[in-house]
C-alpha cells in the first residue's frame, strides 16, 4: 500500500481521466477528424485537468488529513531552509526533553516495574506499618499466620541481611536472604540455570547447605561462570552448594531496584548467624512475609483474615507484638507505599528541576520562533491576503512547532539513551549499602512519556508565536513597512517576559549551586570537634563470623591490645558508630535525676557506645572528670559521660555534673537502672557537620556488648600508610571477617556527598539556563537593533556618538536582565530556606553568594548585549537613512 493513502486514488484519478481523453479522441477520429485535431479538441472539451482533479479530490473526505500532510511537508521544507535556527531549536529541546526522559526512565525502572513473578497481581506482602519502619514479624508469629489463614496458596517468610561471601582478600559483603521453602514457589519463578529449592528444606535445621544466586551476583561476583551450579561457596565461613541461578530481573519482593544477591534456606539461618534464637523468640521481629493469593480470593478477603490473626496475636502477646494489630497487606505489583514515603522529597526535587529545564528550553524556542515570525511577516501577510484563514495559518505554524518538538524529542531520546547507558557503565555510588539492580532502559512506556512531553512542549512553545504571527495588520505589511505591524512591541512584550523569566530561573539555580559550593568550601574549615587527620576506622561485624558474647568480648580485647602494640599506632578503641559520617546514631529517652519531666515525657538524646581511651583516640577534650577505662565493664557501676551542652542544660556547669545520675528508657517503656556521670567532654559534631550543638552522651561499650562495632585507631603519622598493616592484623585474628579500612577524612567526605552532588547538578542546570538566557538577551537586542536601524542612523546624523548608541542598546538588554535578577534573587531567597538543612556553615541568605552570582550573571548579560549593540554603533548613518 502506498503512503499516504490518497496517493493510490491520485494515480487512479489520473488513469481515469486519461482513459476518458483516449476514448474521446478515438470517437472523434472515427468521425473523421485528424489525430491532432481530435486530441486538441478533446482536451479543450475536457477542460482544466488540474482544476478538475482538485475538485474531485475534495470529494474524497481526506481533507483534514491531507491538509495536515501538506502542512507537514511545508513545515519540513521551512525548517530545512533555515538549518541554523532548526539546529538551535532542536538542540535546546533535546536537552530539555532528554533530561525529562532520562529522569522518567530512572523513575520507571525504580517504581513502575513490578517485581518479577508469575501473575504478580496475585501476590501480597504483609506489612506491620509500625512507624513506617517496614514489615517485620517473628517466626512464631509467621507460623500462626500460616495456620490461621486460608486465603493464600503459599505464605513465605524471608530474613534479609548482609552475608560475607568467600574468604581472605576475595571476601565480599553481599546482600542475602534466608527464605522458607515455599518462597520460590510463591513467586512462581524458576531458576534460569540449575534449580531453586522448595519445601524439602523446611525440615531439620542445618540439613540443606544450598544457595541460589541472583543473575546480577552471578555476573558481578562470579564472573558469569557458566559452571557455577554445583560448586561450593563460602558464606560467613560456611560451605554452601550453589544449586541455581535466577533469571535476570528477579529481585524477590524488593521495590526500588534493591536486589538480593543470594538466597539460602531459612533453616540454615543459624549456620550463617549463630546466636539469635530465630525460631523460638516471638519478639525477634526480623522476618518479612509475602504470599500468593489463592485463585479467586480478593485482597480484601485476605486482609480480613490477616487482620483477624494479627489482632489475636497482638492481644495474646502484647509485649512482643505491639502494633501488630495494624498489619496490612498490599499488592506487590502496585507502586507500594514504603518507597513512596522515602523518595518523594528527592524525586520531587529532581522532577521540579527537570520540569524547569523543559520550561526554560520551551521559553527559548518560543523566543526563537518569535524572532522568526518577524522575519516571516511578509510570507504570512501574503498568505492571509490570498485568503488563508487565520485558523488554517495557526494550524500551519503549530504543525511546524510540533515537527520541531518531535525532532527535539527524538534527539532527546537519543540523549537519554546515552545518559542511561553511561549510568550503566559508571553506576553512581550506592546511597544505601545494598546492591541496586535496575535496568534503566528506554522502553515503550518511556517512549510514550517522551512523545507526550514533546507534543506538550510543541504546543507550549508554538501556540503564542503562532497566535501572534497570525494577528497581523495586513496593509502596512504588504507595503513593506519595516516599522509596521509588530514593530513597536509593548514594553512587556512576550519576548521580554520570556527573557526575564529565563534570567530569573537560571539565577535561582546558580544561587543554589553557589550556596552549595560555598558550603563545601566552609565544610573544610568547620571544626568537627575531633581528630580528622590521623585516624582510621574499621567496621567489625562479629555476627557474620558467628561469635557469641564471650568470644566477642575476647576478640575486642585482644584486637585492641594487638593493634595498640603496632608501630605507628598511638591508641585504639571501639565505638558503635563513627561521628559526623551521617550514620544513624542511637537515641534514647533520658530521665535525669531531680528533673521530673511533665507526664513522664522524657527528652530524647542521641548517644554512642564507646570503649576505653575513646576520647584520647578521637582527640575530644574532657572538661571535667575522667574517660571510660577497662574497669567500667560488666558488673561495675554503670557510668555515663555527657557533653558540655547536656551538662549545662541540666547542671549549669561541667564540673557540677559529676556524680549526678540519670536513667535510660528501655524496651517496653520502662526506665532502666541509674547511670552515674563520670565525665564531661567538649561538644563535637555527631551526625553531620551542619548540625547545631546538641546534647549528647556516651555509654561504656564494655557495659553494653554489641556484635557490630567500629574500630577507631589514632595514628602517629599519615593514616593511609597503616591501612594494609591494620587490615592484615585484624584478619590475622579472624580471616572470616570483612575488613574495610577507611580514613576519617573519607568518612567525612561521605557526609559531603549530597552537597557535592547538589552543587554539580544545580550548577549544570544553572549554566544551561544561563546560556539559554544569554541567547535570549542576544536575540532581543539584535532584534531591536535591526528594528531601529533607521532611528539609529537619524540619531547619528543628528550628532549622537557611537558610544551613545552602544549605551542605548545595552541599556535595553540590561533593563530586562536587572528585572530578571531582581525576581530571581527574591525567588532564590525564598527557596534557599528549604535547603538550609543541607548547607554547612553557610546561611541560606549568604551575602557573598547573593552578590557574586547576580553580578556575574549581569556581566554575562551585558556582554551578550554588547555584541549586537556594537553592530548598531557601527551603523553608517547615510546607509541607514537610505534604507528607510
Amino acid at each position: 500500500m502506498k503512503f499516504p493513502p490518497w496517493r493510490r486514488r491520485e494515480d487512479e484519478l489520473e488513469e481515469e481521466i486519461q482513459s476518458h481523453l483516449r476514448m474521446a479522441i478515438r470517437d472523434r477520429m472515427q468521425r473523421g477528424e485528424s489525430p491532432e485535431e481530435a486530441e486538441s479538441a478533446a482536451r479543450r472539451e475536457f477542460g482544466n485537468v488540474g482544476l478538475i482533479k482538485e475538485t474531485t479530490r475534495g470529494m474524497w473526505g481526506f481533507g483534514a488529513l491531507e491538509t495536515f500532510w501538506q502542512d507537514l511537508r511545508y513545515g519540513a521544507r521551512m525548517l530545512l531552509k533555515q538549518p541554523g535556527f532548526t539546529l538551535m531549536a532542536v538542540l535546546t529541546l533535546s536537552l530539555g526533553i532528554g533530561a525529562n526522559t532520562a529522569i522518567f526512565s530512572v523513575l520507571n525502572a525504580l517504581l513502575l516495574r513490578p517485581p518479577l513473578a508469575a501473575q504478580p497481581e496475585q501476590m501480597a506482602q504483609i506489612d506491620k506499618m509500625e512507624q513506617g519502619v517496614g514489615n517485620h514479624t517473628s517466626f512464631p508469629n509467621y507460623r500462626d499466620l500460616v495456620e490461621g489463614t486460608e486465603a493464600f496458596s503459599a505464605l513465605a517468610a524471608f530474613d534479609t541481611g548482609p552475608v560475607n561471601l568467600g574468604q581472605g582478600d576475595a571476601m565480599r559483603r553481599v546482600f542475602g536472604e534466608s527464605v522458607t521453602g515455599n518462597y520460590f514457589p510463591a513467586f512462581g519463578v524458576s531458576a534460569a540455570l540449575g534449580r531453586t529449592f522448595g519445601t524439602e528444606t523446611d525440615g531439620a535445621l542445618g540439613a540443606y547447605p544450598v544457595a541460589v544466586v541472583s543473575h546480577g551476583a552471578w555476573r558481578r561476583r562470579f564472573g558469569a561462570d557458566p559452571g557455577l551450579v554445583g560448586k561450593t561457596i563460602l558464606l560467613n565461613g560456611q560451605q554452601f552448594t550453589v544449586i541455581g541461578i535466577m533469571p535476570e530481573g528477579f529481585r524477590g519482593a524488593w521495590p526500588l531496584g534493591i536486589a538480593p544477591e543470594i538466597w539460602t534456606p531459612l533453616t540454615m539461618r543459624q549456620q550463617l548467624n549463630p546466636g539469635a534464637d530465630l525460631f523460638g523468640d516471638r519478639g525477634a521481629h526480623s522476618l518479612s512475609v509475602i504470599g500468593r493469593l489463592k485463585l479467586g480470593v480478593s485482597q480484601a478477603q485476605a486482609q480480613a483474615e490477616v487482620s483477624l490473626v494479627a489482632k489475636r496475636l497482638a492481644e495474646s502477646y502484647p509485649k512482643e507484638n505491639r502494633g501488630l494489630e495494624n498489619a496490612k497487606i498490599y499488592p506487590i505489583d502496585k507502586i507500594n507505599e514504603i518507597p513512596m514515603r522515602v523518595i518523594p522529597v528527592f524525586m520531587g526535587l529532581v522532577t521540579v528541576i527537570a520540569g524547569l529545564i523543559l520550561l526554560l528550553a520551551c521559553a527559548n524556542v518560543a523566543n526563537l520562533l518569535l524572532s522568526r515570525a518577524v522575519q516571516r511577516r511578509q510570507e504570512v501577510a501574503i498568505r492571509l491576503a490570498l485568503g488563508a484563514g487565520r485558523r488554517r495559518l495557526i494550524r500551519q505554524l503549530l504543525t511546524e512547532s510540533l515537527l520541531l518538538a518531535l525532532a527535539g524529542g527524538a534527539a532527546g531520546c537519543l540523549l537519554a539513551v546515552c545518559v542511561t547507558s553511561l549510568l550503566r557503565l559508571f553506576p553512581p555510588p550506592p546511597l544505601v549499602p545494598v546492591p541496586m539492580e535496575f535496568n534503566v532502559t528506554v522502553d515503550s512506556r518511556v517512549l510514550c512519556f517522551t512523545l507526550a512531553v514533546s507534543l506538550l512542549s510543541g504546543v507550549l512553545f508554538g501556540m503564542a508565536p503562532a497566535w501572534l504571527a497570525s494577528k497581523l495588520d495586513l496593509v502596512p505589511m504588504l507595503k513593506d513597512d519595516r516599522r509596521g505591524a509588530g514593530g513597536r512591541a509593548s514594553r512587556f512584550s512576550l519576548r521580554n517576559l520570556l527573557v526575564i523569566s529565563q534570567v530569573a530561573v537560571s539565577l535561582v539555580f546558580l544561587i543554589c549551586a553557589g550556596l552549595f559550593t560555598r558550603s563545601l568550601q566552609q565544610a573544610n574549615s568547620i571544626d568537627p570537634g575531633f581528630e580528622t587527620e590521623r585516624a582510621l576506622t574499621v567496621p567489625l561485624d562479629l555476627e557474620s563470623v558467628g561469635y557469641d558474647e564471650t568470644r566477642g568480648r575476647l576478640f575486642y580485647r585482644q584486637s585492641l591490645e594487638q593493634i595498640e602494640r603496632m608501630p605507628g599506632v598511638q591508641s585504639a578503641t571501639l565505638a558503635k558508630f563513627v561521628l559526623a559520617k551521617g550514620e544513624g546514631a542511637g537515641s534514647s529517652d533520658v530521665a535525669v535525676e531531680g528533673y521530673d519531666a511533665p507526664g513522664a515525657d522524657y527528652p530524647s538524646f542521641r548517644f554512642n557506645l564507646v570503649g576505653p581511651r575513646y576520647f584520647e583516640t578521637m582527640g575530644i577534650p574532657l572538661l571535667a572528670g575522667r574517660e571510660f577505662n577497662s574497669q567500667d565493664s560488666e558488673g561495675a557501676p554503670l557510668v555515663v559521660i555527657v557533653n558540655e551542652t547536656m551538662a549545662r542544660r541540666f547542671w549549669q556547669a561541667p564540673q557540677s555534673a559529676l556524680g549526678r545520675r540519670m536513667r535510660l528508657m528501655e524496651k517496653g517503656n520502662v526506665l532502666g537502672p541509674y547511670y552515674e556521670v563520670v565525665g564531661v567532654t567538649k561538644d563535637s559534631k555527631y551526625r553531620s557537620l551542619s548540625e547545631e550543638p546538641q546534647s549528647f552522651f556516651y555509654v561504656s561499650a564494655l557495659q553494653d556488648y554489641r556484635q557490630q562495632m567500629v574500630l577507631h585507631v589514632r595514628t602517629v603519622g599519615e593514616p593511609s600508610l597503616l591501612r594494609s598493616a591494620l587490615r592484615d592484623r585484624v584478619l590475622s585474628l579472624d580471616k572470616g571477617l570483612m575488613v574495610e579500612v577507611a580514613t576519617m577524612r573519607e568518612n567525612l567526605a561521605a557526609s559531603f556527598l549530597p552537597a557535592r552532588v547538589a552543587a554539580v547538578v544545580l550548577g549544570l542546570v544553572g549554566l544551561f539556563g544561563l546560556s539559554l538566557a544569554v541567547v535570549g538577551i542576544y536575540g532581543v537586542v539584535s532584534y531591536a537593533v535591526s528594528q531601529r536601524t533607521g532611528e539609529i542612523g537619524l540619531r547619528m546624523a543628528l550628532g549622537a556618538e557611537s558610544r551613545d548608541i552602544l549605551g542605548l542598546m545595552i541599556r535595553q538588554g540590561l533593563k530586562l536582565t536587572l528585572i530578571g535578577v531582581g525576581v530571581g534573587a527574591t525567588l532564590a531567597l525564598a527557596l534557599s530556606r528549604l535547603l538550609s538543612r543541607l548547607l554547612i556553615g553557610v546561611s541560606a541568605a549568604d551575602p557573598v553568594t547573593f552578590l557574586a552570582v547576580p553580578l556575574l550573571l549581569t556581566a554575562v548579560a551585558v556582554f551578550s548585549c554588547w555584541i549586537p549593540a556594537r553592530r548598531a554603533a557601527k551603523v553608517d548613518p547615510m546607509i541607514a537613512l537610505r534604507c528607510e
Binding site: 488513469e15 481515469e16 481521466i17 482513459s19
Partner: protein, 119 residues
C-alpha cells in the same frame, strides 16, 4: 458548431446526480460513456461538463449510491466503470418523484390558465 453550443443547458448539481444514476440504470458505464449517453439521450441538448462529472461521480461513490471497479473495455482499454448500488436505486426513485413534482409545479406556474381549466 457555435449554435449547437448555445443550445446546451447548464445542469444543476442535483439534476446531474439524478441523470448519472438514471444512466447507470442500464448497466455499468465509465465516465466518458455516461457523458456521451446523457448527451445522446438529450438530443445533444445536455452537455455534461467534465469539471462537474468527475467530482459528482466521486461524491456519489462516497455516498455509496454507486460503486466502481476497473474493467477492460471492448477496445482492450483499462477503464473505471461505475455501477448503481441498491441504495442508489432507492435514491434514484426518490429523486425521480421529487423531480416529477417539481416539473409539475413549474409547469403549473408557467401555464396557470391550463391548470385552472383542468381543475
Amino acid at each position: 458548431m457555435k449554435a449547437r453550443y448555445q443550445n446546451r443547458i447548464e445542469l444543476l448539481q442535483g439534476t446531474l446526480d439524478m441523470l448519472i444514476l438514471q444512466t447507470l440504470q442500464w448497466g455499468p458505464q465509465h465516465g466518458y460513456g455516461i457523458s456521451q449517453a446523457i448527451r445522446t439521450n438529450s438530443n445533444e441538448t445536455l452537455q455534461v461538463d467534465t469539471g462537474s462529472l468527475y467530482p459528482a461521480l466521486h461524491r456519489l461513490e462516497r455516498q455509496k449510491w454507486i460503486s466502481s471497479e476497473w474493467k477492460v473495455s471492448e477496445n482492450n482499454q483499462r477503464v473505471k466503470a461505475y455501477r448503481l448500488t441498491a441504495a442508489g436505486k432507492k435514491h434514484l426513485a426518490a429523486e425521480r418523484s421529487r423531480w416529477e413534482r417539481l416539473t409539475e409545479a413549474v409547469e403549473g406556474v408557467l401555464n396557470p390558465a391550463r391548470k385552472e381549466s383542468e381543475a
